[in-house]
Amino acid sequence: MSPSEPTRPTAAHPVGHHVPLRVLAATLAALLVLTFITVAVTWFSWSDFGRAGNIWIALVIATLKAALVALYFMHLRYDRPFNAVVLISALLFVMLFCALTLMDARAYQPDIQAYRDVDPAHYAPDLQRP
């Protein structure tokens, strides 16, 4: 913090960053185009990428859109980097949370299957189609 920093915002020391309207409008246009693309990719099959191949394309496009919103609408590109550190750590912790949970999400499937196999007519009536 400069000792000469004024107590009122001035042109040299504005409060916050001013993102001009044309940048905001360009961001909106990019977001709408990406939304169209993410809908358009569902018109084609992406099974080469696995059963849920579309989900990876959708997530990449969604992340691009989220980055645009954060960088320009939320001024993150012009902010102090620490705000980005806060956001990215939150995202990392969500990913860690999901990844660790998914690691043993199927842990009880054998038990469930064994339970259903004991008396399928009673415990798994959905598998007993006529």
Binding site: E5, V39, N54, I55, F73, A90, C98, A105
Partner: protein, 279 residues
């Protein structure tokens, strides 16, 4: 005023909104923004729990998601996405207008943002209402009206048999109590013995579809609550803007409500493809 603060001839008297524990409006604003980002991080973690539930259910039961997502309208979801994106743009423009001390533009942009938020909730209402009427709900409330209910209650009804008593519990994996009503005969309780008429949906049925709608309503419901809260905050901001509280010297509430509104948009950006665009 602290004596350690240097007198700056260009600065004049301290800004009226500057709290004494901050050195300058810029420092005060940056501190508020950091605090807001910390709050937004907790919001992302809050939704993270539900995204995790989505990931686990989808990993374990991909067929449910592939089956059930067709009951969501892709076009309504896309329109709502566009509405939220436009509202994010008007919100960012409102912040810019406040920074430029353009009071009228600020009010217009805030009003447009509120209109978009209301439009979003209106479309969400149409979607929820449709699902409510179709019985496409969570847990035990899942009673689809559009096809044969599990165990073909609908089928039995069509063939002139006694309509089943209203299910007291939903068709779950192990809960078949409502099928076996006293006095019924036949293996399924509702079908006569030896009736091998194909069911209305002869293809292998997907079970536990209520899982998808549970995840759908939890995620979009929590998001809708956030939109609602955002609308209240935007209304408050618009009211203060109308009173002329905001200018280049002080626009912190506009910027903070803006950050919140953008996070609501950010979450929808992920919800839309994850729920509506399953392929």
């Amino acid at each position: 005023m602290s004596t350690s603060r240097p007198a700056d001839s260009s600065a004049g008297a301290p800004a009226p909104h500057l709290q004494h524990h901050f050195t300058s409006p810029a420092q005060q604003f940056e501190s508020v923004v950091l605090g807001m980002w910390l709050f937004l991080a907790t919001e992302i973690l809050l939704f993270g729990g539900l995204f995790c539930a989505y990931a686990v259910y989808r990993a374990n039961h991909p067929e449910i998601f592939e089956y059930a997502h067709v009951y969501l309208s892709k076009s309504l979801g896309a329109v709502n996405t566009a509405i939220l994106l436009v509202s994010s743009f008007t919100m960012a423009s409102a912040v810019w207008a406040a920074q430029q001390s353009r009071a009228r533009l600020l009010r217009i942009m805030l009003a447009l943002t509120i209109a978009c938020g209301l439009g979003f909730l209106g479309i969400k209402y149409v979607e929820y209402k449709h699902k409510w009427h179709e019985g496409l709900l969570w847990g035990k409330l899942y009673r689809p009206q559009h096809e044969a209910a599990p165990f073909s209650a609908h089928h039995a009804f069509e063939h002139g048999q006694t309509p089943p008593a209203a299910p007291t519990s939903a068709p779950g994996d192990t809960d078949v109590s409502w099928v076996f009503t006293p006095g019924d005969t036949g293996p399924r309780g509702l079908l006569a013995p030896g009736d091998t008429t194909p069911l209305v949906s002869p293809e292998p049925k997907v079970h536990n579809v209520q899982l998808f709608f549970g995840v759908y309503f939890a995620l979009t419901g929590l998001h809708a609550v956030h939109v609602l809260a955002g609308l209240v905050l935007l209304g408050w901001t618009l009211w203060r803007a109308a009173l002329g509280h905001f200018s280049a010297a002080y626009f912190t509430p506009v910027a903070m409500v803006g950050l919140y509104w953008h996070v609501v948009d950010l979450i929808w950006i992920y919800l839309f493809p994850l729920l509506y665009l399953i392929h």
